[in-house]
C-alpha cells in the first residue's frame, strides 16, 4: 500500500511529531527551529510573536464554545504562551457550498465576542467557497501577532528544579467534543469545553514572577504529550504526581467508561507554567482556586516523564502514539 497521511498524523502524538520534524528540516531557519507555539523575532527594537492555526472541529457548535471562539482563543493562546500580548488577528474561512448563512453569522458573532474579550482586533481576512464535498462545512484559519514586553523572553526549555503549575482541570475540551460529536449520552453530566483565552492569566503570572522559564498550552495530545515534548526539548526529566492533577469527576468518569486516558485528551483553556520552586505559590495565587502544582523538573531520567500513580508507584508516562480509540468493553 502507498504511504499516506492518516488521521493519526493529526492527533498530536508521535506520528505528528515525525511529520513536523520532516517539515522543519525542509524549511529550517533559526526562528522556525525553535518549534515554539509562536515564532519570536525582532523588527526594529520591538520583540514580536507570530502564530497561525487552522480550525476544523466537528461539530461546529459544542457545549462551551464553537469553531469561531476556538479560532480566536487558540491563536491568542499560542501567542500568550510566548509571553506576548496579542494585538491583531487575521481571519480566513474555507466554506463548503451550501453552508447555512445563519450558522455562518452565528460563528462570526462568536468570533466578535471572543476577540472583544481577549482584546484583539481582527484586521484582515479572506473567504473561499469550495464545491460540496471539498470541505466539511467550514474551516477557519487565524494568524495573530503580538508584542513581547516581558524582559527575559519565555523560552522553549524548562529549567532544572522548576515546578510545574497547571491552571485547572484537564480533558474537558476533548471529552465535550467527543460527547457532542458522537451523541453519547453524557450530556446530563454537564461536561463543557474549557475553550477560553489565556492571555490575561498569562500576563498575571508574568507580573507575579520574574522566574518563569516557559509556558505551554495543553491542546492536542493533552498534558502527557506536552510534558514529553518539554522533557525532550529541555534534555531534562519530569516527574508528575497523578494525585495532584486536577480533573472534574464527571470528566474522569466519562474517560473511564470509554477507556480514554485523560492525560492524553485535548484541552483548549489549560496551560502549564514552569516556574522556580520559590515562586510557584505566587503563580498559583494569581491563577486561582483550580490551579495546582502537578510536578517538577529533575535531572534524573532525562528526556522522559514519570508519573507517581495514586497508589504511590512510579511509572513512565509516554508520549501519545496516535489517536485514542474507544474500547470495546
Amino acid at each position: 500500500m502507498k504511504k499516506t497521511i492518516t488521521l493519526g498524523h493529526g492527533s498530536g502524538g508521535r506520528l505528528m511529531h515525525q511529520l513536523i520534524e520532516d517539515l522543519r528540516l525542509q524549511l529550517s531557519n533559526k526562528i522556525l527551529d525553535e518549534l515554539a507555539d509562536a515564532a519570536e523575532f525582532k523588527i526594529g527594537n520591538r520583540k514580536l510573536a507570530l502564530s497561525t492555526d487552522s480550525y476544523v472541529v466537528k461539530p461546529l457548535f459544542f457545549p462551551g464554545g464553537d469553531i469561531g471562539k476556538l479560532a480566536v482563543c487558540g491563536t491568542v493562546n499560542d501567542l500568550a504562551m510566548k509571553g506576548a500580548k496579542p494585538i491583531y488577528l487575521s481571519l480566513a474561512f474555507i466554506i463548503e457550498d451550501g453552508f447555512e448563512l445563519a450558522q455562518f453569522k452565528k460563528i462570526v458573532n462568536s468570533i466578535k465576542q471572543a476577540a472583544r474579550q481577549a482584546q484583539v482586533l481582527v484586521v484582515t481576512g479572506d473567504i473561499k467557497v469550495v464545491e460540496k464535498g471539498a470541505a466539511d462545512g467550514i474551516f477557519i484559519n487565524t494568524a495573530g501577532i503580538g508584542v513581547i514586553d516581558y524582559p527575559a523572553s519565555l523560552g522553549v526549555k524548562a529549567k532544572l528544579g522548576d515546578f510545574i503549575v497547571i491552571n485547572g482541570g484537564i480533558a474537558e475540551h476533548g471529552m465535550a467534543i467527543l460527547n457532542a460529536r458522537e451523541n453519547l449520552e453524557f450530556s446530563s453530566t454537564g461536561i463543557k469545553s474549557d475553550c477560553r483565552h489565556l492571555n490575561f492569566s498569562v500576563q498575571r503570572c508574568l507580573k507575579a514572577s520574574k522566574k518563569i522559564s516557559m509556558m505551554r498550552d495543553l491542546t492536542r495530545g493533552g498534558l502527557a504529550t506536552v510534558l514529553n515534548e518539554i522533557a525532550q526539548g529541555s534534555n531534562l526529566g519530569i516527574e508528575v504526581d497523578q494525585q495532584a492533577i486536577p480533573i472534574k469527576k464527571s470528566v474522569s468518569k466519562m474517560c473511564d467508561v470509554l477507556g480514554f486516558d485523560p492525560l492524553y485528551v485535548a484541552n483548549e483553556g489549560k496551560f502549564i507554567c514552569f516556574v522556580n520552586q520559590k515562586d510557584a505559590p505566587k503563580v498559583i495565587k494569581v491563577l486561582g482556586k483550580q490551579a495546582r502544582i502537578v510536578g517538577r523538573v529533575t535531572s534524573s531520567h532525562k528526556r522522559e516523564v514519570y508519573l507517581t500513580t495514586k497508589i504511590g508507584a512510579q511509572r513512565i508516562l509516554p508520549m501519545l502514539e496516535s489517536d485514542q480509540l474507544p474500547r470495546i468493553c
Binding site: M1, T4, T6, L7, G8, R14, L15, E182, L184, D256, L258, G259, D261, L307, T309, K310, I311, G312, A313, Q314, R315, I316, P318, E321, S322, Q324, L325, P326, R327, I328, C329
Partner: protein, 338 residues
C-alpha cells in the same frame, strides 16, 4: 511446569491496562508475578476473521462499522483503517445500536457490524438485532466473532505449557455471567478465582484474596467486586444473548480452535448474518513470522521475550494483535514498562 514465583493471570485486557496504569506490579512482593491472559477481544480475534471483514468492507454499497479498537488491527494485507484511508466507508461505532441507526438512515446500503467481544458485549448486540427485527430494518448485518471466555480459561487452566496459580477474573464479563461458571475452574483444575473490578483498590484486594487462598491451599471462587457482580449474573442479558446467538467452535488467535467458545447467529436470525449474505472466502493465513503473541496470550512468554518487540513491532507498526489493541499485553508493556 512449575515456576518459582506465584503466577497470577489477569484474564481481562482492561485489567492488564489498569494494572500497568496504576503501577501495581512495582508494588508487589518479589515472589508474585502477574501475567496477562486471553481476555482482550481484539487480541484473540483470528487474522482470518479480520481479513474477512476487510474483504466485506471492500464490497460496493457496504458501510462497515466496528469498535474503535478493531480499526488498526492488521489482517494479512492491511487494516480497516488503511482501507478507510483508501476510501472505503468504515465507521467507528460505540455500540451495535449505533450501527442500527446508520442502517435506518441509509436504507439503500448494507450496514455490516464487525462484532468482537465477550459476554459483556454480545448481549447488547443481541438486543440490537432483536430491535432491528422488531423495526423491520433489513439492511443490518452482523459479522459475529463474539466469544465466551470460560472455554479459553479451562484450556489454560488445564494446559501443561504454562503454570498459573490463580486467576484475576474480569469484572465486566462477570456482571453478565455471574460467578457460577468459574466454579468448574476452581474445583476441577484447583485454581483459585477472584472476580474483581478495575479501580486500584479492587485489583489489590483481588490479588490479596488470591494470595490468601494460595497460602491456605484453597481454590474457591470469590467475588471481590460485590457492588456489581452476583452469583447468577444478569439473567435477562444471558437470555437475550442466547435467544439470538448459539455456541459454536471458534478459532482463537494464539490458542487455536476451542470447542463451543464462539457465538454464531441462531437459524432464525441468519438473515442478519454478514457471513451468509456475502459468503466471502478468505485464504488461511499463518501467524506473522517471529511474532510471539500466541505464547504471550497464554502466559507462556512475556512481550520482552519477543524479538520483534519494540523493534519491528510498535504501536505504530504493530505486527501482532497484542501490540495493536490498546488493551493488549504488548501495548501495555510498551507503554508503561521500562
Amino acid at each position: 511446569m512449575k515456576a518459582s514465583k506465584i503466577r497470577l493471570m489477569e484474564v481481562c485486557g482492561t485489567h492488564t491496562m489498569a494494572i500497568a496504569g496504576f503501577g501495581i506490579k512495582k508494588l508487589l512482593p518479589k515472589g508474585v508475578e502477574l501475567i496477562s491472559g486471553p481476555g482482550c477481544p481484539v487480541c484473540v480475534t483470528h487474522q482470518q476473521d479480520i481479513d474477512r471483514a476487510i474483504e466485506i468492507a471492500k464490497i460496493k454499497n457496504v458501510i462497515m462499522t466496528t469498535f474503535g479498537d478493531m480499526l488498526r488491527v492488521p489482517g494479512s494485507k492491511g487494516s480497516l483503517e488503511q482501507l478507510k484511508t483508501a476510501g472505503a466507508d468504515v465507521r467507528v461505532v460505540y455500540s451495535c445500536l449505533d450501527a442500527l441507526t446508520i442502517a435506518r438512515d441509509n436504507p439503500d446500503k448494507k450496514i455490516v457490524f464487525m462484532g468482537v467481544g465477550f459476554e459483556t458485549t454480545s448481549p447488547t448486540v443481541a438486543a440490537a438485532i432483536l430491535e432491528a427485527k422488531k423495526r423491520k430494518i433489513r439492511n443490518l448485518l452482523v459479522l459475529s466473532n463474539f466469544k465466551i471466555i470460560f472455554p479459553a480459561l479451562k484450556a489454560l487452566a488445564g494446559s501443561k505449557k504454562t503454570h498459573i496459580d490463580g486467576f484475576i477474573c474480569p469484572g465486566h464479563v462477570s456482571v453478565i455471567t455471574g460467578s457460577l461458571p468459574y466454579e468448574q475452574i476452581a474445583k476441577r483444575y484447583k485454581k483459585p478465582c477472584v472476580i474483581t473490578g478495575f479501580e486500584e483498590a479492587d485489583i489489590i484486594t483481588g490479588i490479596k484474596c488470591l494470595l490468601t487462598q494460595i497460602k491456605e491451599r484453597k481454590s474457591r471462587v470469590e467475588i471481590a467486586y460485590k457492588r456489581a457482580v452476583q452469583k447468577k449474573g444478569n439473567l435477562k442479558a444471558q437470555r437475550v444473548m442466547f435467544s439470538v446467538f448459539t455456541l459454536n467452535d471458534a478459532p482463537w488467535r494464539g490458542l487455536g480452535m476451542i470447542k463451543r467458545s464462539g457465538l454464531s447467529l441462531r437459524k432464525e436470525f441468519t438473515n442478519f448474518s454478514a457471513e451468509e449474505e456475502f459468503r466471502v472466502k478468505v485464504p488461511r493465513v499463518k501467524e506473522p513470522k517471529g511474532c510471539l503473541c500466541a505464547e504471550v496470550l497464554q502466559g507462556i512468554k512475556s512481550p520482552r521475550d519477543c524479538r520483534l518487540f519494540k523493534k519491528r513491532c510498535t504501536p505504530q507498526t504493530p505486527v501482532g494483535p497484542c501490540m495493536v489493541s490498546s488493551e493488549g499485553a504488548c501495548a501495555a508493556h510498551y507503554k508503561y514498562e521500562k
